[in-house]
Amino acid sequence: MGEKMNISDLNKKLAEMDVKSLEGVTIEGDIELEIDAGAGGVGPLFAYYFGEEVAKVAVQLVNMAKAFGYPVDSLLQPVAVAQAISPAPEELAKAAPEVPAFKIPDTLKSAKFAVGTDKTWKTQIQEVQLGATKADGGSRGHVIKIGGEKAMPFFYDAAMPNRPVVTVDVFDMPIGMAKAVKMHYEDVMSDPADWAKKAVKEFGADLVTTHLISTDPLIKDTSAKEAVKVVEDVLQAVDVPICIGGSGNPDKDVEVLTKACEVAQGERALIASASLNLDWEAIGKSCAENGNVCLAWTQLEINAQKELDRKLMKVAGVPRDSIVMDPTTAALAYGLDFAYSNMERIRLGGLKGDEELNFPMSSGTTNAWGVREAWMVKSPNVEDSDWGDRMLRGPIWEILTGFSLALAGVDLFMMMNPISVAYLQEITQSLMGLVKAETPDTTNWISVGV
C-alpha cells in the first residue's frame, strides 16, 4: 500500500484538529514521511534512526492517519524501515521495545493479600485409639489417639487434633543394626522387656513395637505360643500402648499374629500387619474379635490399599476405628518420592471423601537405616565428595525420611534411633504450634556470625 502524505499536509490537518500533543514540535523542511509501520508503537531502532522527537511525531501521524481512515494497520515495521537505510548497531537491534521511563513512587502501593482454604476437603480422617486403660478393658496407663485430621498436615485450613507419635522398634532377639543405632540398645538387646522400658523411659517413645522376628522359620522358628510370651513381658514392663509385629513370613505371621491378638486382648494393640499376600481375613477377624487395631500394609500402590481396606472392613469385619494403613516407606534416596506421593495422594483422597482411604497412616521409618548413605563408612564411588561421619549421617537420614512423610500425612512412625525420635517429635510439634520457643530476630540474619 502506498499512501503518501507530506508533513505540510499533515500539519494542516493536525492544525485543523487542534492536536495539542504536537505543539512545540517543529519540523523543518518538507520531509516526506513514508511510514510503512503499524500502530503498535515505536521500536528502539526507529527512534535511533529518526530521532526521538520525529519518532513521536510519526506515531502521532500514524494515529491521526488511522483516525482519518487511512489503512495503516499493516504499517510501522520499524526494523524493516531502518534496515533499508543502514545496518544497526547490534545492541540496539537486540533491544527490547522501548521501556517506559523508570519512575519510583513516593510510597508503597497498598495491597491486601487474601487466600482461601481447600473447599474439597470435606471428610475427616478416621480417629483411631491405640491402647486401652482399665476403664475400657485394657491395662495401659493412657491411650493415644491418632488421625482425625480435616486438612493436610500442618496446613492452616484446620488444626490437627492429634500430634504424630513414634513407636520404637523392639525385637525378640538380638539383631544386626547400624552402629549409630546399636550403641543405644546394646545393653538391653537380650531382653525385650528391658529394651521396651529403655525406649519409653529414656528415649521418649510414645509406643513400643514388639517384633516377633524369631518366629521366622528361617531364623529360629519360635512357636507362636512361645513367642507371644514376649508380648506379655512387654505389656508388664511398660504401660504405654503397644504394637506387635511378626517376622514377615506370610504363613507363620498369620499364626503368630492371631495368637498375639489373643494375648493382647482388649489392649487396642496395633497388629502389624495384614496384607494382600497373606490371610488378611484371619488377622483382621482376630483384631476385631480381640479388640485390637489392624495395620493394613500394601506396597506403594493406592488401589491395593483401597482393596485391602475394603476387604478388612467388609469381609473381615474390622471396624472403621480399628484400621491404620501402612502404604510402605521407601526411604530418602531409595525411592522416597514414591512413598511420599503415594501417601500424599492417599491422604488427599481421604480428605476428599474416599472412605477406603480416610484412615491414619503409619510409616516404617526404620527403613532409612537400609540406605547406604545412612550407615556406610565411606562412599563406594571414589569420585564422590567426602561422606563425612556416618554417626552423624545416620540419624538425620531417619529424621528426614520420617519428617517428609509427616508432611505427606503419616500419623505414626516406627523408628529406632533415639536422637531421630526426639527430632521428629520436636519438628512435628513445632509445626503444630505446640512448642513455645523463643524465636530469634531473624531480620538481621545477613550479619549473623556463623
Binding site: F102, N277, D337, E383, T442, I446
Partner: protein
C-alpha cells in the same frame, strides 16, 4: 499453565503442520507443550518477523496460556543459568515440580582470603553421584557482615574468580549492594533485599543493573504484596519474595503457613498479580541453635519443610556431608518427575572394557538400583557386563517378592543378549545378594555347566566381594 488439553493450545498454533519443530503436526506440538517437553520458541513460524502480523495475536494468547503459575525468574548466565520458580502445581503428583530450588550456600565478607577461597571451592566442587547424575550446588550467597562496600566488592570479586556459579548478593545497605553489583552485575546475580527502609534505592539498583531482586517483608503478607506490586508497577519483573523464615517455635508454624498460602495463591487460585517465586532461609537455624550438629539438623528440617511446601530458592549454611547429602537427596527425590518411570533399558550394558574373563552381574532395570551398581563397578575400575532384567522398574528386593525377577527370566535375558556363561572361561554369573535363593535353580537351568554366585546385598561391597570370590574357584 493450568491447561491440560492440547486442543486448547492448538488453536493458538499456525495449524499448518509445517514440521519445522520436528513434530509431524501442530497438534503433536501442542501435546508436547502440555507435557512441558516442548517450548513455544521451537515453533519458528510464530516468531517469524514476516508473519508477525498474522501470528502476533496467537503468540500473545499462547504465551499467556502457557505461562507457569508461579512466575519464572532466571539468574546467572550461559551454562550457569538457573531457574527460580516456574512451578504449576501444589502437589508433585498432580504433574511434577519442575525447577528444583537452587541451594545458595553462604560466604561472608569478613572471611580471611584463604578461608574464603577454601569455602567457596568446597561449595562449588561438592558433588555426589546419584541415579546416573552428579548432584551439585547451584549458587553462592555472599553476606555483607562488615557493612563495608569495599570489603563486600572485594569478597564478591574473589568469589567470582573462584567459581562461575551465580550469586545472591546479601545486604540491606544499597551502597553495599551497589558495590557488589559493580563487580558482578554482568553475571546476573540476585540481590537481597529490598525492605521497607531501603526499597527505593534497591529498586533503582534492580533497574539500573537489570538483575532479579528479592523483596523482604517478614511475616506480613500484605506488606510483602504491597512491595512486590509496587516494584512490578515500576516495570521490575524479576522479583523474588522473602516472606520470612523463623527457625523454631510458633513462628515456624506461621512461616510454613505463609509458604503454603503463597504457593496456593499462585497455583490453585491463579493470583497472577502475586505469583512470584519464594525464598526460604534455612540458614536461620544457626541463629536459634548453638550446637553445630543440632543447628545442622534443624537446617535440614527447615530445608525439607520448604522443599516439600513451596520454596523456589534457598539460602543455606552447612556444607558438612551430614547436611549436604540428605538435603540434596531430599530435593532430588521431591523434584523427580513422577510421570516418567525411573527405568533403564533392559539387557546387557557394558561397564569399562569387559573381556571374556570379566564377570557378568545381574541387576534390575530400576534406575536407582542400576546406576548404583554401575557406579560402584565403574568407580572401582571393575570391567564387567551388567545385565538389567526387565522388572518394570521395580527394585531387587521387591521384584524377588513380586516375581518380576526369576531364574527363568535371568537365563532368558542372557540368552537374548548372547551371553552364555557356560561358554565363558569362568562359567559363572553373579546375582544380587537378595537373589541368593535363585542360585540352585539357575545352576539347574544351565545343566550345571555354569553356576550362579550370590553377590553381596549392597553393591557397594562388590569390590571386597570380588577380592575374595573372583575369579571363582573351580
Amino acid at each position: 499453565m493450568k491447561e491440560s488439553s492440547p486442543l486448547n493450545l492448538y488453536k493458538f498454533l499456525p495449524q499448518t503442520n509445517c514440521g519445522e519443530c520436528g513434530e509431524q503436526t501442530c497438534m503433536a506440538f501442542a501435546a508436547g507443550l502440555i507435557a512441558r517437553e516442548r517450548t513455544i520458541d521451537e515453533c519458528k513460524p510464530l516468531f517469524d518477523p514476516k508473519k508477525q502480523k498474522k501470528y502476533a495475536k496467537k503468540l500473545a494468547s499462547l504465551k499467556e496460556v502457557i505461562a507457569p503459575e508461579v512466575a519464572l525468574v532466571y539468574t546467572g548466565t550461559g551454562d550457569q543459568q538457573k531457574k527460580v520458580g516456574g512451578e504449576d502445581v501444589m502437589y508433585r503428583h498432580q504433574m511434577t515440580f519442575f525447577n528444583w530450588p537452587p541451594f545458595a550456600y553462604d560466604v561472608t565478607d569478613d572471611m580471611e582470603l584463604s578461608a574464603l577461597v577454601e569455602r567457596t571451592k568446597a561449595i562449588a566442587e561438592w558433588r555426589k553421584f546419584y541415579i546416573g547424575n552428579w548432584e551439585e550446588v547451584e549458587m553462592i550467597a555472599v553476606r555483607s557482615v562488615t557493612g563495608d562496600p569495599a570489603k563486600f566488592a572485594a569478597c564478591v570479586k574473589k568469589v567470582q574468580e573462584t567459581t562461575k556459579k551465580p550469586l545472591v548478593l546479601c545486604s540491606f545497605d544499597p551502597k553495599v549492594l551497589k558495590a557488589g553489583l559493580e563487580v558482578a552485575a554482568e553475571n546476573r546475580p540476585i540481590i537481597y533485599a529490598a525492605t521497607k527502609d531501603n526499597w527505593k534505592e534497591v529498586a533503582q539498583l534492580a533497574y539500573d543493573y537489570k538483575v532479579p531482586v528479592t523483596v523482604s517483608v517478614p511475616f506480613d503478607l500484605d506488606g510483602l504484596k504491597s512491595m512486590a506490586t509496587t516494584f512490578k508497577e515500576m516495570g521490575i519483573d524479576d522479583i523474588i519474595l522473602d516472606p520470612g523464615t523463623a527457625p523454631n517455635g510458633e513462628k515456624l508454624q506461621e512461616t510454613l503457613h505463609n509458604f503454603i498460602k503463597l504457593r496456593r495463591a499462585a497455583t490453585e487460585e491463579g493470583q497472577k498479580d502475586f505469583n512470584f517465586p519464594v525464598m526460604a532461609l534455612p540458614i536461620t537455624a544457626w541463629m536459634a541453635n548453638d550446637d553445630p550438629v543440632r543447628a545442622a539438623y534443624w537446617e535440614s528440617l527447615l530445608t525439607a519443610t520448604f522443599v516439600c511446601r513451596g520454596a523456589d530458592i534457598m539460602i543455606k549454611h552447612s556444607i558438612e556431608p551430614h547436611s549436604v547429602m540428605p538435603d540434596m537427596h531430599m530435593r532430588f527425590n521431591i523434584y523427580t518427575d513422577p510421570r516418567t518411570p525411573v527405568q533403564v533399558k533392559p539387557g546387557a550394558h557394558v561397564v569399562g572394557k569387559p573381556t571374556d574373563e570379566s564377570p557378568i552381574f545381574i541387576t534390575t532395570n530400576f534406575a536407582l538400583t542400576y546406576y548404583t551398581v554401575e557406579s560402584d563397578l565403574s568407580s572401582n575400575s571393575i570391567d564387567a557386563y551388567l545385565v538389567a532384567i526387565n522388572t518394570d522398574g521395580i527394585g531387587v528386593q521387591a521384584s524377588v517378592a513380586g516375581g518380576q525377577i526369576t531364574p527363568g527370566k535371568i537365563k532368558e535375558t542372557l540368552d537374548e543378549e548372547g551371553l552364555n556363561p557356560a561358554e565363558r572361561p569362568h562359567k559363572a554369573i553373579i546375582l544380587p545378594g537378595m537373589c541368593a535363593k535363585f542360585t540352585g535353580e539357575i545352576d539347574e537351568l544351565y545343566k550345571y555347566e555354569a553356576k550362579a554366585m550370590a553377590g553381596p546385598e549392597d553393591s557397594g561391597r562388590i569390590p571386597g566381594w570380588m577380592e575374595k570370590n573372583w575369579p571363582p574357584k573351580k
